[in-house]
Subunit: 379 residues, 2 copies
Amino acid sequence: MGLHLPEANVGLVRTHYWTFAQTPDELPLDCGRTFGPITVAYETYGTLNAARDNAILLIHALTGDAHAAGRHLPTDRKPGWWDPAVGPGKIFDTDRYFVICSNCLGGCMGTTGPSSTNPATGQSYGLAFPVFTVHDMVKVQAALVRHLGVRELACVAGGSLGGMQVLEFAIRFPFLVRAIMPIATTWRLTPQAIAFNEIGRTAIVNDPNFHDGNYYDQPGWPDDGLALARMIGHITYLSEEKMLQKFGRQMVDHYGARLHLKSKFQVENYLQYQGDKFVRRFDANSYLYLTRAMDLYDLEEDWGTLQNAFARIRARIMLMSFTSDWLFPPAHAERMHGVFQELYKDVVYHNVVSPSGHDSFLVEYDTILPLMRSFLNAE
Amino acid sequence: MGLHLPEANVGLVRTHYWTFAQTPDELPLDCGRTFGPITVAYETYGTLNAARDNAILLIHALTGDAHAAGRHLPTDRKPGWWDPAVGPGKIFDTDRYFVICSNCLGGCMGTTGPSSTNPATGQSYGLAFPVFTVHDMVKVQAALVRHLGVRELACVAGGSLGGMQVLEFAIRFPFLVRAIMPIATTWRLTPQAIAFNEIGRTAIVNDPNFHDGNYYDQPGWPDDGLALARMIGHITYLSEEKMLQKFGRQMVDHYGARLHLKSKFQVENYLQYQGDKFVRRFDANSYLYLTRAMDLYDLEEDWGTLQNAFARIRARIMLMSFTSDWLFPPAHAERMHGVFQELYKDVVYHNVVSPSGHDSFLVEYDTILPLMRSFLNAE
């Protein structure tokens, strides 16, 4: 087991779909409504063993999808979102593990969300979609895991909103998981992070093409608002240091003169490009619902104290934060680490020195993969 | 002079207007155009002495105005923006000093800006207003000071964009000023701060009521965009600590249920209130031009090095930054302090411990006023 074989990629993969919560077995949500049917888009890599206990669940962040590794077509420019971590000989070794990743509830990458058609009306749900919580999101993750025949998960891992779901999964399904890696995450957002989310939502709702969420059959969609929300997000994901490295104060697009109102700094150009690119792949209503689920997540409100919440966890825990992450600050991970220690949990905590801000878990592979490997192999 | 008399307020004051740069004596701007006429809105408190050297120039920040102290009407709910610092016996002691404050070029509080009428066309300038720089802004400040008969300023003080003008004033008019207080400011913005400004501008320009800046005679103005820009600004002015103190994660406006998409956290409500309030007093085009002037300010680009720029300054200097200010970080003030020391300038630097973020200079009077007083009295 200590032998590291050469790493390889998972190759060509495809997304699968599973539908559950059909009438009358709809899923009870925290808001009091029941909801269904729910289709889940998911991918798997590797094979479930006979004991059905070698599965690993990866959970994506706010704008991710079920496509964690490999390519759908040989011509795909980019592989899945955590490809450096998934494959034969990699951390999440598909020769040993059965790796699962699904698009989360309310998303827009194949799992039922506000852009899906409501079978009762034949129309997209739009804002008629129920408000859901991180707890509701992991109910769907757990249903999928059981549907795939898994008896026990060797690990659940993810960053940011994915990390919130990792914590919630271990709290709600303590007997289903042996180890967790909540990365760049928190038990609740700061008011500052909520405020940034709110500004993104305001930009979407103010867009004249929003039409109270019923824009799907309109000629124009709320692209400007969604792009602006993404631009705000991008600033909060990057650290100041990274922005300085990446852009400095270089100007582009001079319109013939630096002192032109429309002249752009490189950082402006980059953000507008990112915003415009984002609207081609993401749904504005999903953005509203998913950021709201993040805002509402608060283990202290749900359980009285963090101690009460974390006392339920039976899994080994590897917490990871990043020094330059000001959206999910290391102080939050430190606090969680302290509570886990008070409770005599089997916990390790890495505050990784990184200039890459909140996005470090999708960037700083040289640093994070060895830490993840040694934690996972310590089983 | 060491005796502190009881402090008093300046009482009722009024705003004055002075017009200069009439044809053919228009003001040459950095962009290459000449511009005029320019009307300047200003207030003064106290009396110029016979030597004409007891004047103090206060320079407001991005959204401020000429009304630094006192009240226009006995019923005014609030006094001027730096009232705790201006009056008989206060730091800027109107029994000793002749205090001047003017609305800056491009503003919308009485000084000529994009919302002013272009006498050549009878229409508002809108985006036909020339792009101006911080250097252009202090040319107007200096013209006013000379018009008022001042031979030498005892001090020039201001925070944020006002602080940039303070630095620029001392660099461009070294023989006109004996002491400066650049507060919560920098010789150039970080890419992060530029990015926040750009998002605010994008929100304004995307607003369907913007009409390429010619909204003044339209029924609707780009209020949503401007409010959003203000909301972004507000987050960057406050520290995370202050937001936590101020709002926590309290919810308001429950629509009968916490799990309602439109339920609001207090911080969201506050930001929307601030945004809505702001649009009643500020002009969207001024916001575009003034934030652009901030972005463009870069003493290293203008002078090759910070040493070259600061070598020109003859005034005593009191630099002040705030520990929780992440928009104009203390590291920038430290860098400037180091350069002043290299140049053997008469400089003091206070990095004030404050939870109030960038806005500290408008809030933390108990801490900052004694520091300002002892610097000013050391003359």
